[in-house]
């Protein structure tokens, strides 16, 4: 009996070692492909950056399309282009590596799944980036405008706008990635609806007395004669 146990253990170990030996070339192929494309991507990004600086790409872009600089001032067009090139090659390296891994294992399930999901990841990344840039730009606009209008709650307003845009972006990203399903939609709907309802109640109930007092004061106030401005800025 002990001989049979020993034989079973030996054969199962041999099977596992065989499977590892089968997978190992694929794993090595993945690592080699990824590192190779990483290196190529880094090299080409460096070359692209040098060429674009030589041709004064930032200055030329700055004259015509100020949109990038206005929305994301610290990321120059040159840097954006070189980063796009780098990450394209990294992505290609991952896909080639996965394909090489599957060539070794003769199973194409993973690559099929990844290839099908990559567009969603790319779309979600773009959505996330755009949402963050938009949130920063709009919140800063609201902050500065609020301060110039002498609103004491300008910062609060700005934070509220930023978080609303970020929450909306997060919900869109999760929906695009098909993560969470209806839970995300439901949760977002409840959250936004709750915020709007809370604001309505706060303004409606909280300012009821304020509005009525303000209207009474307005009705009782004598007609003001406009005073001439004492300071002229322009």
């Amino acid at each position: 009996m002990w001989e049979q146990v020993e034989q079973s253990l030996h054969s199962s170990m041999v099977r596992v070692m065989n499977q590892v030996a089968t997978l190992l070339p694929g794993i090595l192929a993945f690592i080699v492909a990824f590192l190779l494309f990483l290196f190529i991507g880094w090299l080409l990004a460096l070359v692209a950056r040098r060429i674009l600086k030589l041709f004064r790409f930032d200055e030329r872009m700055g004259r015509g399309a100020n949109a990038i600089a206005e929305w994301s001032p610290r990321a120059t067009p040159t840097m954006l282009v070189s980063r796009v090139i780098f990450w394209c090659f990294v992505t290609a390296g991952v896909m080639v590596g996965v394909s090489a891994f599957e060539a070794g294992t003769s199973e194409h399930i993973v690559s099929g799944w990844i290839l099908g999901y990559v567009p969603r990841i790319v779309g979600a990344a773009i959505l996330l980036l755009a949402g963050n840039v938009l949130a920063r730009f709009v919140s800063r606009s609201v902050l500065i405008t609020g301060v110039n209008l002498n609103l004491s709650y300008a910062r609060l307003l700005s934070m509220g706008v930023r978080w609303m845009i970020l929450v909306l972006t997060g919900a869109m990203v999760l929906d695009h990635l098909a993560l969470g399903g209806e839970i995300v939609e439901l949760g977002f709907g409840i959250l936004f609806g709750g915020i709007v309802l809370a604001l309505s109640l706060a303004v409606g109930l909280g300012s009821r007395d304020l509005v009525s007092r303000s209207l009474e004061r307005e009705a009782a106030r004598p007609v003001d004669v406009p005073q001439p401005e004492q300071i002229h800025h322009f």
Binding site: E70, P73, L143, I144, Q230, I231, H232, H233, F234
Partner: protein, 420 residues
């Protein structure tokens, strides 16, 4: 904005007139009858004081308003007069100064087309359409051979504060010309330079609102030619209703920052400033008037310092932020913003504008509370000064800007050496 193009009908009118010695342009729509009634006594008053054969008065209006031939002079000593309506470009309805600048460029284009010896541009409210104003401007350009003559308005101590606090001292320190009003409703240009003003402003177009800065063009393109000033007793009525301070400040200061960027090679070579000749009689000193309460401006500055710290931190160096923080803890009656600090702040904003540290719209919006802090400090200082003392104080402010210029130069040339 593209190069100023005259409409076909305007070109036909110009061809019919042929040429003119002096073009007086009204930068805005004016009823032709009102203009004609104002022009006749003025031309009679000009008489032989200026040696002109033909004067063309250009104004924005319908072509049927005035025939191009106009009225001939009643006597041989009076110049011949023609009224020339022009169609204002569509961009003339832009915000505040943009519209005015477009009209001014159109008038310069007309003067260039008519081969005029001089061109005088006046504000649309006709406040400057007076004999002595035209005489002085024509004298400066035609007799004294100035390439440009700018006005000196009789401003009170609380008037034109954007000009006093930013535009005039910045323009002076950059381009070395001591001009009270570097941008104005009224000015005169020599004829040979009209076309050059157009070419220059056309080259600077294409990036943001392009205002017309006559002093910048004269100082950079014709540094050896004289620029003069004339005292004009004119008060322009500026419709301020609906105008937001931050929008106007952003437009005017942003435009001057653009000029800085464009003419960087020129202003970096300028050291100090030169006095410019002034003609005409200085107005009588106005009474001081009631002191103004600086508290609203101070409140705006304090609100800005509490809320915009994260934005200012991207633009201003730490020592300036520290000085501003100290100012916020000062008692209101002792609130004083040093001239050097204020000049440094504007220079830092100019640099951030050039480097696009943050969005330019945000940058110029974030300047408003700082400007109001300066205004609060300024009006407390000058409220009890006499006219002469006020002028000295303004001169002191302008010198502080000149002395701070090496700081601007070093940061402009080597921006990476210090980056907040």
């Amino acid at each position: 904005m593209a190069v100023i193009e005259l409409s076909d009908e305007t070109k036909r009118q110009v061809e019919r007139i042929g040429s003119a010695d002096l073009v007086v342009g009204i930068a805005g729509p004016v009823p032709a009858e009102e203009l004609r009634s104002r022009v006749e006594p003025i031309v009679a008053g000009l008489g032989s004081s200026v040696s002109l054969d033909r004067i063309v008065f250009a104004f924005a209006g319908p072509y049927a308003a005035a025939p191009a031939g106009g009225a001939e002079g009643e006597s041989a000593s009076q110049p011949r007069v023609a009224l020339l309506p022009y169609a204002p470009p569509s961009a003339a309805s832009g915000e505040f100064w943009s519209g005015v600048s477009v009209q001014q460029r159109t008038i310069l284009a007309l003067a260039a087309s008519l081969n005029a010896r001089a061109c005088i541009v006046l504000g649309a409210d006709l406040a400057a359409l007076q004999t002595h104003v035209l005489q002085l401007l024509a004298y400066a350009v035609l007799d004294r051979q100035c390439v440009l003559a700018m006005p000196v308005y009789p401003a009170g101590r609380y008037e034109g504060l954007i000009n006093t606090g930013i535009l005039s001292p910045l323009s002076r320190s950059l381009f070395g010309k001591r001009i009270h009003y570097p941008i104005a409703f009224d000015f005169a240009v020599s004829g040979g330079m009209c076309g050059h003003f157009l070419r220059q402003t056309a080259a600077s177009n294409g990036a943001g609102p392009a205002l017309l800065w006559p002093v910048t063009v004269a100082a950079t393109q014709f540094p050896q030619q004289a620029v003069g000033q004339v005292h004009v007793s004119v008060h322009h009525r500026v419709a301020t209703e609906g105008l937001e301070l931050s929008a106007v400040l952003g437009q005017m200061v942003g435009s001057l920052f653009q000029e800085m960027e464009q003419f960087a090679p020129q202003w970096q070579r300028v050291r100090g400033s030169q006095a410019t000749p002034v003609w005409g009689n200085a107005p009588e000193e106005k009474p001081g008037g009631e002191p103004v309460d600086p508290q609203p401006m101070l409140d705006s500055f304090l609100l800005g310092s509490r809320n915009l710290d994260e934005v200012w931190r991207l633009i201003l160096p730490p020592n300036v932020l520290l000085d501003l923080r100290r100012l916020t803890r000062t008692a209101p009656e002792q609130f004083r913003m040093p001239d050097e600090l204020w000049a440094g702040i504007v220079y830092d904003f100019a640099l951030a504008y050039r480097l696009r540290t943050i969005s330019r719209v945000h940058l110029l919006g974030a300047l408003t509370p700082l400007y109001l802090g300066w205004v609060a400090s300024w009006i407390q200082e000058v409220s009890r000064l006499s006219g002469a003392a006020l002028e000295q104080r303004q001169e002191q402010l302008a010198r502080a800007w000149e002395e701070k210029k090496p700081y601007l130069l070093s940061r402009w040339r080597w921006p990476d050496r210090f980056n907040p």
